[in-house]
Protein backbone atom coordinates (compact mmCIF):
# COMPACT_ATOMS: atom_id res chain seq x y z
CA UNK A 1 0.00 0.00 0.00
CA UNK A 2 2.67 2.46 1.10
CA UNK A 3 4.89 1.23 -1.69
CA UNK A 4 2.15 1.95 -4.17
CA UNK A 5 1.66 5.44 -2.75
CA UNK A 6 5.38 6.20 -2.99
CA UNK A 7 5.47 4.88 -6.53
CA UNK A 8 2.44 6.94 -7.46
CA UNK A 9 3.94 10.14 -6.03
CA UNK A 10 7.15 9.62 -7.95
CA UNK A 11 5.21 8.80 -11.08
CA UNK A 12 3.05 11.91 -10.70
CA UNK A 13 6.08 14.17 -10.36
CA UNK A 14 7.75 12.79 -13.44
CA UNK A 15 4.47 12.75 -15.36
CA UNK A 16 3.79 16.43 -14.67
CA UNK A 17 7.25 17.35 -15.89
CA UNK A 18 6.91 15.24 -19.00
CA UNK A 19 3.45 16.62 -19.77
CA UNK A 20 4.50 20.26 -19.39
CA UNK A 21 7.68 19.92 -21.42
CA UNK A 22 5.91 17.70 -23.92
CA UNK A 23 3.05 20.16 -24.32
CA UNK A 24 5.41 23.08 -24.87
CA UNK A 25 7.43 21.14 -27.43
CA UNK A 26 4.27 19.94 -29.13
CA UNK A 27 2.85 23.46 -29.33
CA UNK A 28 6.00 25.28 -30.20
CA UNK A 29 8.39 23.09 -32.14
CA UNK A 30 6.82 23.88 -35.52
CA UNK A 31 7.97 27.49 -35.22
CA UNK A 32 11.54 26.60 -34.39
CA UNK A 33 13.84 27.21 -37.32
CA UNK A 34 17.03 29.10 -38.09
CA UNK A 35 15.33 32.39 -38.87
CA UNK A 36 13.19 32.24 -35.74
CA UNK A 37 16.19 31.83 -33.48
CA UNK A 38 18.81 33.93 -35.26
CA UNK A 39 16.59 36.39 -37.11
CA UNK A 40 15.94 39.96 -36.07
CA UNK A 41 12.59 40.73 -34.53
CA UNK A 42 9.74 41.97 -36.65
CA UNK A 43 6.28 42.71 -35.33
CA UNK A 44 4.59 41.00 -38.26
CA UNK A 45 4.44 37.21 -38.37
CA UNK A 46 6.22 35.44 -35.56
CA UNK A 47 9.38 37.50 -35.72
CA UNK A 48 12.89 36.44 -34.82
CA UNK A 49 13.92 36.23 -31.17
CA UNK A 50 17.66 36.77 -31.47
CA UNK A 51 17.50 40.19 -29.69
CA UNK A 52 15.74 38.54 -26.73
CA UNK A 53 18.27 35.72 -26.58
CA UNK A 54 21.11 38.25 -26.57
CA UNK A 55 19.37 40.33 -23.89
CA UNK A 56 18.84 37.23 -21.74
CA UNK A 57 22.50 36.27 -22.03
CA UNK A 58 23.52 39.85 -21.19
CA UNK A 59 21.47 39.84 -17.99
CA UNK A 60 22.82 36.43 -16.93
CA UNK A 61 26.44 37.36 -17.51
CA UNK A 62 26.30 40.84 -15.96
CA UNK A 63 24.31 39.78 -12.89
CA UNK A 64 26.57 36.83 -12.20
CA UNK A 65 29.73 38.87 -12.79
CA UNK A 66 28.61 41.20 -10.03
CA UNK A 67 26.81 38.80 -7.70
CA UNK A 68 29.28 35.88 -7.68
CA UNK A 69 32.36 37.64 -6.25
CA UNK A 70 30.32 39.68 -3.77
CA UNK A 71 28.32 36.63 -2.71
CA UNK A 72 31.34 34.36 -2.27
CA UNK A 73 33.31 37.00 -0.39
CA UNK A 74 30.35 37.70 1.93
CA UNK A 75 29.88 34.01 2.63
CA UNK A 76 33.59 33.56 3.33
CA UNK A 77 33.49 36.50 5.69
CA UNK A 78 30.40 35.23 7.52
CA UNK A 79 31.64 31.67 7.76
CA UNK A 80 35.40 32.01 8.21
CA UNK A 81 36.19 35.45 9.57
CA UNK A 82 33.28 37.06 11.38
CA UNK A 83 32.98 36.53 15.11
CA UNK A 84 29.90 34.35 15.44
CA UNK A 85 27.43 36.42 17.40
CA UNK A 86 24.41 38.68 17.22
CA UNK A 87 25.52 40.68 14.21
CA UNK A 88 26.27 37.59 12.13
CA UNK A 89 22.97 36.02 13.16
CA UNK A 90 21.18 39.17 12.06
CA UNK A 91 22.96 39.21 8.71
CA UNK A 92 22.06 35.54 8.20
CA UNK A 93 18.44 36.22 9.09
CA UNK A 94 18.40 39.12 6.64
CA UNK A 95 19.83 37.08 3.76
CA UNK A 96 17.37 34.29 4.46
CA UNK A 97 14.46 36.73 4.46
CA UNK A 98 15.68 38.25 1.21
CA UNK A 99 15.34 34.88 -0.57
CA UNK A 100 11.67 34.77 0.33
CA UNK A 101 10.61 38.19 -0.95
CA UNK A 102 8.52 38.12 -4.15
CA UNK A 103 10.51 39.34 -7.12
CA UNK A 104 7.99 42.04 -8.00
CA UNK A 105 9.09 43.86 -4.84
CA UNK A 106 12.68 43.79 -6.05
CA UNK A 107 11.40 45.00 -9.39
CA UNK A 108 9.68 47.98 -7.76
CA UNK A 109 12.83 48.78 -5.82
CA UNK A 110 14.93 48.51 -8.99
CA UNK A 111 12.51 50.76 -10.87
CA UNK A 112 12.71 53.39 -8.17
CA UNK A 113 16.38 53.15 -7.26
CA UNK A 114 18.37 52.03 -10.30
CA UNK A 115 16.09 53.35 -13.04
CA UNK A 116 15.05 56.65 -11.51
CA UNK A 117 17.38 57.67 -8.68
CA UNK A 118 20.60 56.48 -10.28
CA UNK A 119 19.24 57.66 -13.65
CA UNK A 120 20.15 54.42 -15.41
CA UNK A 121 16.80 54.47 -17.15
CA UNK A 122 15.00 51.32 -18.25
CA UNK A 123 18.04 49.34 -19.27
CA UNK A 124 19.82 46.02 -19.23
CA UNK A 125 22.19 47.31 -16.57
CA UNK A 126 19.31 48.40 -14.29
CA UNK A 127 17.72 44.95 -14.69
CA UNK A 128 21.03 43.19 -14.09
CA UNK A 129 21.66 45.15 -10.90
CA UNK A 130 18.17 44.26 -9.69
CA UNK A 131 18.80 40.61 -10.54
CA UNK A 132 22.10 40.81 -8.69
CA UNK A 133 20.19 41.67 -5.52
CA UNK A 134 17.77 38.82 -6.17
CA UNK A 135 20.45 36.13 -6.56
CA UNK A 136 22.93 37.47 -4.01
CA UNK A 137 21.23 35.74 -1.04
CA UNK A 138 21.08 32.49 -3.02
CA UNK A 139 24.82 32.59 -3.69
CA UNK A 140 25.64 33.58 -0.11
CA UNK A 141 23.50 30.78 1.36
CA UNK A 142 24.78 28.03 -0.89
CA UNK A 143 28.38 29.12 -0.51
CA UNK A 144 28.01 29.20 3.26
CA UNK A 145 26.54 25.70 3.22
CA UNK A 146 29.37 24.53 0.97
CA UNK A 147 31.97 26.03 3.31
CA UNK A 148 30.31 24.35 6.27
CA UNK A 149 30.68 20.93 4.67
CA UNK A 150 34.46 21.31 4.35
CA UNK A 151 35.81 19.02 7.10
CA UNK A 152 37.41 21.02 9.94
CA UNK A 153 40.26 18.51 9.73
CA UNK A 154 41.35 20.09 6.42
CA UNK A 155 41.56 23.47 8.09
CA UNK A 156 43.54 22.13 11.03
CA UNK A 157 45.78 20.05 8.79
CA UNK A 158 46.64 23.04 6.67
CA UNK A 159 47.13 25.51 9.52
CA UNK A 160 49.28 23.00 11.42
CA UNK A 161 51.68 23.08 8.47
CA UNK A 162 52.43 26.72 9.15
CA UNK A 163 50.20 28.24 6.51
CA UNK A 164 48.31 31.48 6.87
CA UNK A 165 44.55 31.61 7.09
CA UNK A 166 44.39 33.09 3.61
CA UNK A 167 46.55 30.34 2.10
CA UNK A 168 44.39 27.73 3.79
CA UNK A 169 41.25 29.37 2.46
CA UNK A 170 42.57 29.74 -1.05
CA UNK A 171 44.32 26.40 -1.45
CA UNK A 172 42.26 23.99 0.61
CA UNK A 173 38.89 25.32 1.71
CA UNK A 174 37.61 27.04 -1.43
CA UNK A 175 38.67 24.19 -3.75
CA UNK A 176 36.84 21.64 -1.58
CA UNK A 177 33.78 23.88 -1.44
CA UNK A 178 33.83 24.55 -5.19
CA UNK A 179 31.16 22.00 -6.27
CA UNK A 180 28.71 23.48 -3.75
CA UNK A 181 29.53 27.03 -4.77
CA UNK A 182 29.01 26.13 -8.42
CA UNK A 183 25.63 24.59 -7.72
CA UNK A 184 24.66 27.89 -6.11
CA UNK A 185 25.70 29.70 -9.27
CA UNK A 186 23.67 27.26 -11.37
CA UNK A 187 20.63 27.89 -9.17
CA UNK A 188 21.15 31.61 -9.64
CA UNK A 189 21.26 31.22 -13.40
CA UNK A 190 17.92 29.47 -13.25
CA UNK A 191 16.57 32.27 -11.13
CA UNK A 192 17.82 34.92 -13.58
CA UNK A 193 16.56 33.17 -16.71
CA UNK A 194 13.21 32.51 -15.08
CA UNK A 195 12.69 36.02 -13.77
CA UNK A 196 10.15 38.17 -15.57
CA UNK A 197 8.35 40.62 -13.28
CA UNK A 198 11.47 42.38 -11.99
CA UNK A 199 12.97 42.59 -15.47
CA UNK A 200 9.75 43.91 -16.95
CA UNK A 201 9.89 46.83 -14.53
CA UNK A 202 13.57 47.63 -14.94
CA UNK A 203 14.64 46.72 -18.48
CA UNK A 204 11.38 47.53 -20.17
CA UNK A 205 10.02 45.79 -23.25
CA UNK A 206 11.81 47.21 -26.29
CA UNK A 207 11.85 44.38 -28.80
CA UNK A 208 15.03 45.27 -30.60
CA UNK A 209 18.70 44.38 -30.49
CA UNK A 210 20.20 46.39 -27.59
CA UNK A 211 22.93 48.85 -28.63
CA UNK A 212 24.65 48.61 -25.28
CA UNK A 213 23.93 47.53 -21.72
CA UNK A 214 22.34 50.93 -21.20
CA UNK A 215 19.61 50.21 -23.72
CA UNK A 216 16.14 49.12 -22.81
CA UNK A 217 15.50 45.58 -24.03
CA UNK A 218 13.31 42.51 -23.73
CA UNK A 219 14.35 39.16 -22.32
CA UNK A 220 12.92 35.81 -23.42
CA UNK A 221 10.61 35.46 -20.44
CA UNK A 222 9.25 38.97 -20.84
CA UNK A 223 8.78 38.29 -24.54
CA UNK A 224 6.92 35.10 -23.79
CA UNK A 225 4.67 36.93 -21.36
CA UNK A 226 3.93 39.83 -23.71
CA UNK A 227 3.23 37.59 -26.68
CA UNK A 228 0.69 35.62 -24.71
CA UNK A 229 -0.78 38.78 -23.26
CA UNK A 230 -1.01 40.84 -26.43
CA UNK A 231 -1.75 38.40 -29.20
CA UNK A 232 -2.67 35.23 -27.37
CA UNK A 233 -0.23 33.44 -29.66
CA UNK A 234 0.34 30.32 -27.55
CA UNK A 235 2.42 28.65 -30.24
CA UNK A 236 4.89 31.52 -30.29
CA UNK A 237 5.07 31.65 -26.50
CA UNK A 238 5.70 27.89 -26.44
CA UNK A 239 8.46 28.21 -29.04
CA UNK A 240 10.13 30.84 -26.84
CA UNK A 241 9.68 28.41 -23.95
CA UNK A 242 11.55 25.70 -25.84
CA UNK A 243 14.47 28.06 -26.39
CA UNK A 244 14.44 28.94 -22.68
CA UNK A 245 14.47 25.28 -21.65
CA UNK A 246 17.36 24.55 -24.01
CA UNK A 247 19.35 27.53 -22.72
CA UNK A 248 18.90 26.43 -19.10
CA UNK A 249 19.83 22.86 -19.99
CA UNK A 250 22.99 23.98 -21.78
CA UNK A 251 23.97 26.28 -18.89
CA UNK A 252 23.43 23.55 -16.29
CA UNK A 253 25.33 20.95 -18.25
CA UNK A 254 28.27 23.27 -18.84
CA UNK A 255 28.37 24.25 -15.18
CA UNK A 256 28.37 20.59 -14.14
CA UNK A 257 31.07 19.93 -16.71
CA UNK A 258 33.22 22.78 -15.41
CA UNK A 259 32.74 21.62 -11.83
CA UNK A 260 33.87 18.10 -12.78
CA UNK A 261 36.88 19.53 -14.60
CA UNK A 262 37.80 21.63 -11.57
CA UNK A 263 37.55 18.64 -9.29
CA UNK A 264 39.80 16.58 -11.50
CA UNK A 265 42.31 19.39 -11.75
CA UNK A 266 42.80 19.08 -8.00
CA UNK A 267 44.94 16.02 -8.42
Amino acid sequence: MLRGLLWFSAFLTVAVLVIIVGYIFYKGFRLINFDFIFGDYSPVGHGGIWPMIVTTIYTIVISLLIATPIGILSAVYLQEYAKQGRLVRMIRFATESLTGIPSIIYGLFGAVFFVTTLKLGMSIIAASLTLTIIVLPVIIRTTEEALKTVPPAYREGSLALGTTKLQTLYKVILPSAMPGILSGIILSMGRIVGESAAIFLTAGTVAAMPDSIFSSARTLTVHSYLVTQESGDIELAAAVGIVLIVIILVLNLSATFISKKLNKADY
Partner: protein, 275 residues
Protein backbone atom coordinates in the same frame (compact mmCIF):
# COMPACT_ATOMS: atom_id res chain seq x y z
CA UNK B 1 64.03 9.29 40.43
CA UNK B 2 64.02 9.53 44.16
CA UNK B 3 64.74 13.25 43.91
CA UNK B 4 61.07 13.96 43.52
CA UNK B 5 60.19 12.08 46.62
CA UNK B 6 62.81 13.76 48.71
CA UNK B 7 61.84 17.15 47.43
CA UNK B 8 65.31 18.56 47.74
CA UNK B 9 65.94 18.96 44.07
CA UNK B 10 65.60 22.52 42.93
CA UNK B 11 63.46 21.39 40.01
CA UNK B 12 60.92 20.22 42.52
CA UNK B 13 60.96 23.52 44.30
CA UNK B 14 60.10 25.10 40.96
CA UNK B 15 57.06 22.92 41.05
CA UNK B 16 58.21 20.40 38.49
CA UNK B 17 57.40 16.78 38.54
CA UNK B 18 59.82 16.37 35.70
CA UNK B 19 63.57 16.19 35.29
CA UNK B 20 63.97 12.72 36.57
CA UNK B 21 67.25 12.02 34.85
CA UNK B 22 69.86 13.68 37.01
CA UNK B 23 72.49 13.39 34.32
CA UNK B 24 70.62 15.59 31.89
CA UNK B 25 72.64 18.74 32.15
CA UNK B 26 71.57 19.75 28.66
CA UNK B 27 68.60 22.08 28.39
CA UNK B 28 65.25 20.55 27.53
CA UNK B 29 63.89 20.99 24.03
CA UNK B 30 60.51 22.02 25.33
CA UNK B 31 60.12 23.49 28.76
CA UNK B 32 56.67 24.05 30.21
CA UNK B 33 56.18 26.03 33.37
CA UNK B 34 53.00 26.52 35.41
CA UNK B 35 50.70 26.26 32.45
CA UNK B 36 47.04 26.99 33.12
CA UNK B 37 44.47 26.81 30.35
CA UNK B 38 40.84 27.89 30.37
CA UNK B 39 38.08 27.24 27.88
CA UNK B 40 36.00 30.26 28.76
CA UNK B 41 35.24 29.79 32.48
CA UNK B 42 36.19 26.14 32.58
CA UNK B 43 39.75 25.34 33.54
CA UNK B 44 41.22 22.47 31.54
CA UNK B 45 44.88 22.48 32.61
CA UNK B 46 46.24 23.15 36.11
CA UNK B 47 49.82 24.30 36.63
CA UNK B 48 51.31 21.88 34.15
CA UNK B 49 55.08 21.86 34.29
CA UNK B 50 57.26 19.44 32.43
CA UNK B 51 60.44 19.33 30.38
CA UNK B 52 60.57 17.40 27.15
CA UNK B 53 63.96 16.19 26.01
CA UNK B 54 65.31 16.46 22.51
CA UNK B 55 65.13 13.38 20.27
CA UNK B 56 63.08 11.36 22.65
CA UNK B 57 59.56 10.08 22.45
CA UNK B 58 57.40 11.51 25.20
CA UNK B 59 54.01 9.87 25.69
CA UNK B 60 51.03 11.62 27.29
CA UNK B 61 48.55 9.19 28.79
CA UNK B 62 45.40 9.51 30.86
CA UNK B 63 41.64 8.97 30.67
CA UNK B 64 39.44 10.85 28.19
CA UNK B 65 39.02 14.51 29.02
CA UNK B 66 42.11 14.64 31.21
CA UNK B 67 43.65 17.44 29.15
CA UNK B 68 46.39 15.54 27.38
CA UNK B 69 45.24 16.54 23.90
CA UNK B 70 44.61 20.08 25.05
CA UNK B 71 48.15 20.20 26.38
CA UNK B 72 49.55 18.81 23.14
CA UNK B 73 47.75 21.50 21.19
CA UNK B 74 49.26 24.28 23.27
CA UNK B 75 52.68 23.27 21.96
CA UNK B 76 51.92 24.45 18.41
CA UNK B 77 49.23 26.91 19.47
CA UNK B 78 46.42 25.04 17.73
CA UNK B 79 44.22 26.06 20.65
CA UNK B 80 44.40 29.60 19.29
CA UNK B 81 41.78 28.51 16.75
CA UNK B 82 39.19 28.00 19.47
CA UNK B 83 37.29 31.04 20.72
CA UNK B 84 37.65 31.87 24.39
CA UNK B 85 40.84 29.96 25.20
CA UNK B 86 42.97 31.68 27.81
CA UNK B 87 46.45 30.60 28.75
CA UNK B 88 48.86 31.57 31.48
CA UNK B 89 52.30 30.22 32.29
CA UNK B 90 55.21 29.64 29.98
CA UNK B 91 56.10 27.30 27.18
CA UNK B 92 59.62 27.58 25.86
CA UNK B 93 60.82 25.73 22.81
CA UNK B 94 64.57 26.16 22.27
CA UNK B 95 64.50 28.83 24.97
CA UNK B 96 61.93 30.90 23.15
CA UNK B 97 58.59 31.61 24.77
CA UNK B 98 56.16 30.59 22.04
CA UNK B 99 53.27 32.63 23.41
CA UNK B 100 55.31 35.82 23.54
CA UNK B 101 56.54 35.73 19.99
CA UNK B 102 53.55 36.33 17.77
CA UNK B 103 54.87 34.39 14.80
CA UNK B 104 52.56 31.38 14.91
CA UNK B 105 53.45 30.51 11.32
CA UNK B 106 57.12 30.08 12.19
CA UNK B 107 56.24 28.07 15.28
CA UNK B 108 54.08 25.67 13.28
CA UNK B 109 56.75 25.12 10.65
CA UNK B 110 59.03 24.10 13.50
CA UNK B 111 56.47 22.05 15.42
CA UNK B 112 54.62 19.69 13.10
CA UNK B 113 51.47 17.81 13.96
CA UNK B 114 49.83 14.51 13.05
CA UNK B 115 46.15 14.17 13.89
CA UNK B 116 43.92 11.44 15.23
CA UNK B 117 42.33 10.70 11.89
CA UNK B 118 44.32 10.96 8.69
CA UNK B 119 43.43 14.35 7.22
CA UNK B 120 45.03 14.42 3.80
CA UNK B 121 43.67 17.02 1.42
CA UNK B 122 41.68 15.99 -1.65
CA UNK B 123 44.76 16.30 -3.85
CA UNK B 124 47.40 13.93 -5.19
CA UNK B 125 49.87 12.26 -2.85
CA UNK B 126 52.61 14.45 -4.27
CA UNK B 127 50.66 17.67 -3.80
CA UNK B 128 49.80 16.74 -0.23
CA UNK B 129 53.41 16.29 0.76
CA UNK B 130 54.54 19.29 -1.29
CA UNK B 131 51.77 21.48 0.14
CA UNK B 132 53.68 22.84 3.15
CA UNK B 133 56.94 23.57 1.31
CA UNK B 134 55.02 25.18 -1.54
CA UNK B 135 53.22 27.48 0.87
CA UNK B 136 56.63 28.47 2.19
CA UNK B 137 57.44 29.64 -1.32
CA UNK B 138 59.43 26.70 -2.70
CA UNK B 139 58.56 26.46 -6.39
CA UNK B 140 61.58 24.72 -7.90
CA UNK B 141 60.38 21.39 -9.28
CA UNK B 142 63.60 19.52 -8.59
CA UNK B 143 63.69 20.73 -5.03
CA UNK B 144 60.07 19.76 -4.46
CA UNK B 145 60.64 16.32 -5.97
CA UNK B 146 63.55 15.84 -3.62
CA UNK B 147 61.60 16.97 -0.55
CA UNK B 148 58.64 14.75 -1.41
CA UNK B 149 60.81 11.68 -1.96
CA UNK B 150 62.82 12.25 1.20
CA UNK B 151 59.71 12.84 3.26
CA UNK B 152 57.92 9.77 1.97
CA UNK B 153 61.04 7.69 2.57
CA UNK B 154 61.25 9.20 6.03
CA UNK B 155 57.72 8.04 6.69
CA UNK B 156 58.49 4.55 5.33
CA UNK B 157 55.86 4.73 2.63
CA UNK B 158 57.90 5.66 -0.46
CA UNK B 159 57.99 2.13 -1.88
CA UNK B 160 54.24 1.77 -1.55
CA UNK B 161 53.33 5.01 -3.29
CA UNK B 162 56.22 5.92 -5.60
CA UNK B 163 54.34 4.72 -8.69
CA UNK B 164 51.15 6.57 -7.88
CA UNK B 165 52.32 9.95 -6.64
CA UNK B 166 49.98 11.76 -9.02
CA UNK B 167 46.87 9.87 -7.95
CA UNK B 168 44.47 11.00 -5.26
CA UNK B 169 45.79 10.59 -1.74
CA UNK B 170 42.30 9.66 -0.60
CA UNK B 171 42.54 6.38 -2.51
CA UNK B 172 45.11 5.03 -0.03
CA UNK B 173 44.24 2.85 2.93
CA UNK B 174 43.84 4.50 6.34
CA UNK B 175 47.23 3.32 7.55
CA UNK B 176 48.94 4.50 4.38
CA UNK B 177 47.16 7.84 4.63
CA UNK B 178 48.39 8.31 8.17
CA UNK B 179 51.97 7.65 7.10
CA UNK B 180 51.57 10.15 4.26
CA UNK B 181 50.31 12.59 6.92
CA UNK B 182 53.55 11.95 8.79
CA UNK B 183 55.47 12.52 5.54
CA UNK B 184 53.57 15.77 5.07
CA UNK B 185 54.68 16.88 8.53
CA UNK B 186 58.28 15.78 7.89
CA UNK B 187 58.37 17.76 4.64
CA UNK B 188 58.47 20.95 6.70
CA UNK B 189 61.67 19.72 8.34
CA UNK B 190 60.30 20.37 11.82
CA UNK B 191 62.28 19.90 15.02
CA UNK B 192 59.31 18.63 17.00
CA UNK B 193 56.43 16.42 15.84
CA UNK B 194 53.24 16.28 17.87
CA UNK B 195 51.00 13.25 17.44
CA UNK B 196 47.45 13.20 18.71
CA UNK B 197 46.45 9.53 19.03
CA UNK B 198 47.84 8.84 15.57
CA UNK B 199 46.89 5.15 15.53
CA UNK B 200 43.45 5.25 17.14
CA UNK B 201 41.72 5.00 13.76
CA UNK B 202 44.02 2.27 12.40
CA UNK B 203 43.97 -1.51 12.33
CA UNK B 204 46.61 -3.44 14.35
CA UNK B 205 48.99 -4.03 11.44
CA UNK B 206 48.93 -0.38 10.35
CA UNK B 207 49.36 0.59 13.99
CA UNK B 208 52.47 -1.57 14.20
CA UNK B 209 53.92 0.07 11.10
CA UNK B 210 53.32 3.55 12.49
CA UNK B 211 54.86 2.54 15.83
CA UNK B 212 57.98 1.20 14.09
CA UNK B 213 58.14 4.42 12.18
CA UNK B 214 57.95 6.52 15.34
CA UNK B 215 60.74 4.48 16.92
CA UNK B 216 62.90 5.18 13.85
CA UNK B 217 62.00 8.84 13.69
CA UNK B 218 63.20 9.74 17.15
CA UNK B 219 66.80 9.89 16.02
CA UNK B 220 65.86 12.98 14.01
CA UNK B 221 62.88 14.47 15.79
CA UNK B 222 61.55 15.24 19.22
CA UNK B 223 58.23 13.44 19.37
CA UNK B 224 55.35 14.08 21.73
CA UNK B 225 52.54 11.57 21.38
CA UNK B 226 49.13 11.43 23.01
CA UNK B 227 47.84 7.90 23.28
CA UNK B 228 44.92 6.06 24.76
CA UNK B 229 46.78 2.84 24.42
CA UNK B 230 49.02 2.18 27.41
CA UNK B 231 50.82 -0.71 25.73
CA UNK B 232 51.69 1.68 22.96
CA UNK B 233 53.12 4.21 25.39
CA UNK B 234 55.11 1.42 27.02
CA UNK B 235 56.40 0.16 23.68
CA UNK B 236 57.52 3.35 22.00
CA UNK B 237 58.15 6.10 24.51
CA UNK B 238 61.15 7.09 26.57
CA UNK B 239 59.22 9.21 29.04
CA UNK B 240 55.60 9.16 30.01
CA UNK B 241 53.42 11.80 31.61
CA UNK B 242 50.21 10.73 33.29
CA UNK B 243 47.45 13.35 33.12
CA UNK B 244 44.36 13.35 35.31
CA UNK B 245 41.71 16.08 35.47
CA UNK B 246 44.02 18.62 33.86
CA UNK B 247 47.00 17.95 36.11
CA UNK B 248 50.20 16.08 35.53
CA UNK B 249 50.13 13.45 38.24
CA UNK B 250 53.40 11.82 37.41
CA UNK B 251 56.11 12.27 34.82
CA UNK B 252 59.00 9.86 34.63
CA UNK B 253 60.93 7.35 32.58
CA UNK B 254 58.34 5.16 30.86
CA UNK B 255 59.73 2.02 32.49
CA UNK B 256 59.23 3.56 35.92
CA UNK B 257 55.70 4.70 35.19
CA UNK B 258 54.68 1.22 34.20
CA UNK B 259 56.71 -0.88 36.63
CA UNK B 260 56.90 1.22 39.78
CA UNK B 261 54.69 4.27 39.67
CA UNK B 262 54.99 6.47 42.73
CA UNK B 263 51.48 7.81 42.80
CA UNK B 264 48.58 5.53 43.67
CA UNK B 265 46.43 7.08 40.94
CA UNK B 266 49.07 6.36 38.30
CA UNK B 267 49.26 2.80 39.47
CA UNK B 268 45.48 2.44 39.37
CA UNK B 269 45.40 3.80 35.84
CA UNK B 270 48.26 1.83 34.33
CA UNK B 271 47.02 -1.39 35.89
CA UNK B 272 43.63 -0.75 34.32
CA UNK B 273 41.62 -0.07 37.46
CA UNK B 274 40.03 2.96 35.80
CA UNK B 275 40.21 5.02 32.61
Amino acid sequence: MNTTVMGSNKEVRKGKLSQMNDQSADKAKISVNDLDLFYGEKQALYRVSLDIQEKEVTALIGPSGCGKSTFLRTLNRMNDLIDGVKISGEIEIDNENIYQSSDVIKLRTKVGMVFQKPNLFPMSIFDNVAYGPRMQGIKNKKELNKIVEESLRGAAIWDEVKDRLKTSALGLSGGQQQRVCIARAIAMKPAVILMDEPTSALDPISTLKVEELIANMKKDYTIVIVTHNMQQAARISDKTAFFLNGEVIEYDETSNIFSMPKDQRTEDYVTGRFG
